[in-house]
């Protein structure tokens, strides 16, 4: 069985390798930004890249359950790392926006309240905080079944993130629509008609 073989290979990969592999781009992007590698407007480029990596990590996180159910490939061991990495990139994205982009503290609150797309993105960030805080093993044990219910917030976070992206671009652009479609598709795979058994 090829799925078994893949699972065998996956078992060889330590979790810290995921942290290293997906954490490294953050350092690399800042380095590129400082050295002119992100083009003439590095602030927007950095902001955009960090946001997109966060969305990609959320998508990876959302595909772990369907991969196991439909393909038999088990990446569950890495799910916490992917979730926390997504939060890490959202934090960096927000920090770049606050410190490098908006700059004046007086403008920050106005921007959040007045700009719907900022509000949507900021809400997604706020919703991720309880998820990050309860990602440790102790919380999983402590919260029991309600941990799972709480962590379904990931679906909301991912949709809000994609809407945030779609809302900030000018015109009818394809890229944010692809993110939104993939995220909605992955959530859709979890939906079962009433009466059928439900596993999450």
């Amino acid at each position: 069985m090829w799925a078994e073989r893949i699972n065998g290979l996956i078992r060889q990969v330590p979790v810290w390798a995921i942290w290293l592999f997906y954490g490294a781009p953050s350092v690399w992007l800042f380095y590129l930004g400082l050295t002119g590698g992100l083009g003439a407007e590095p602030i927007k480029a950095l902001e955009r890249e960090l946001g997109k990596i966060a969305l990609q990590l959320l998508i990876i996180g959302l595909s772990i359950t369907p991969l196991r159910q439909y393909v038999g490939v088990n990446l569950i061991r890495f799910r916490r790392a992917f979730g926390l990495l997504a939060f890490f990139y959202v934090c960096l994205h927000l920090l770049v926006w606050l410190v490098l982009d908006v700059q004046a503290p007086a403008r920050i609150w106005t921007e959040i309240v007045k700009r719907p797309y900022v509000m949507v993105g900021f809400t997604a960030f706020l919703l991720m905080i309880p998820l990050a805080l309860t990602s440790n093993t102790w919380s999983v044990r402590r919260l029991g079944p309600s941990w799972r219910r709480l962590h379904r917030l990931t679906y909301v976070v991912a949709v809000l993130g994609a809407v945030h992206f779609l809302w900030l671009v000018k015109g009818f652009q394809i890229e944010p629509l692809i993110y939104l479609a993939v995220i909605l598709g992955l959530i859709g795979l979890r939906w079962r008609p009433l009466g059928q058994s439900r596993r999450v």
Binding site: G33, L34, G36, G39, A40, E41, P42, I43, K44, L46, L100, Q103, A104, R107, T110, E111, K114, R115, P116, Y117, W167, L168, V169, K170, G171, F172, Q173, I174, E175
Partner: protein
């Protein structure tokens, strides 16, 4: 009617030194004549150094070549820019197809160093070369009934990969009121830094209206139509709530999704500061009169 406006932005980087010195002398003489010798350049001239050729030609919005800022520089070389003709029609005495080479033969090319403010809240300073649109309109002979000028960008699906997606309703169209179009600041640019304008910047000729958001300055123009009605404009068709016909740079009227109070000049790196956006992009002395008595919040 060329040379109706003198650059207030100035830099040795832009102009060959001899020309620069002679212009300095001219300005100096003029100032001396007014008893203002020693007043020198405007205080903010220092911060308004033109952007580099690389910044100007590699950070562009030209959605026909893709929506990423780097897409135009990557894809626009596919565009055939010669031969090129501009159809001038509508309410003109001499409608017809005007060959680009013929236009260049009769127009006076001059340098205009302008601020360029994008609706996305970034800005550049660009040393354009071009001629006054008024001169081109005079060539075709504007009829008395004309009130507006409509512009159209070339549309070639085989040379413009971005038009596969309906980001906008192609072809790109823009428009100006006739008095805006004839204003001395309004030019058709054919060059940057004395070189032919690259395709990604709107080769072979594009409109430049420095007191309006950049998207008004339509690129690679193939048609100019004089009309008596306000012409449709692409971004207004795409989203009338966000993009008005006038689209004058105005720090007091925000875009519904972001603030227009400040801007960031391209080229400042990762720690580039924001600076306040100027009314009419700093050209209020020259153009505010065009809008006397108009509600600029309503006519955004």
């Amino acid at each position: 009617m060329a040379y109706r406006w003198k650059n207030t932005l100035s830099s040795q980087d832009v102009t060959p030194e001899a020309a620069f010195l002679s212009r300095r002398t001219l300005i100096g003489a003029a100032l001396a004549g007014l008893g203002l010798a020693g007043a020198g350049l405007p205080a903010d001239a220092e911060s308004l150094t033109p952007n580099t050729w690389e910044d100007i030609t590699r950070y562009n919005n030209y959605y026909e070549f893709g929506t990423d800022k780097g897409d135009p520089a990557r894809n626009a070389r596919m565009l055939t820019v010669a031969p090129w003709t501009v159809r001038i029609d509508g309410l003109v005495d001499r409608p017809g197809d005007y060959a680009f080479d013929e236009i260049m033969r009769v127009m006076t090319i001059e340098e205009r160093i302008y601020r360029f403010r994008c609706v996305e809240a970034w800005s550049m300073v660009v040393p354009w070369n071009g001629f006054e649109l008024a001169d081109l309109l005079a060539l075709a002979g504007v009829q008395p009934g004309a009130k507006y000028v409509a512009f159209e960008t070339v549309l070639r699906a085989d040379e413009m990969p971005g038009v596969r997606y309906r980001v906008l309703d192609w072809p790109y169209v823009e428009g100006l009121r006739l008095d805006e179009a004839r204003h001395p600041l309004t030019i058709m640019a054919t060059g940057i830094y004395g070189r032919d304008i690259p395709a990604q910047n709107g080769a072979p000729l594009r409109l430049v209206v420095p007191w309006k958001y950049g998207f008004k300055s339509i690129k690679s123009v193939v048609r100019i139509t004089l009309t008596d009605k306000e012409p449709p404009t692409s971004w207004n068709k795409a989203n009338a709530r966000e993009y008005g016909f006038y689209s004058n740079v105005n720090p007091e009227v925000d875009h519904p999704r972001w603030s227009q109070a400040t801007e960031r000049q391209i080229g400042g790196g990762l720690f580039s500061p924001r600076k306040p956006t100027l009314m009419f992009n700093g050209y209020g002395d020259e153009v505010a009169g065009l809008y006397a008595g108009m509600d600029l919040v309503k006519n955004f």
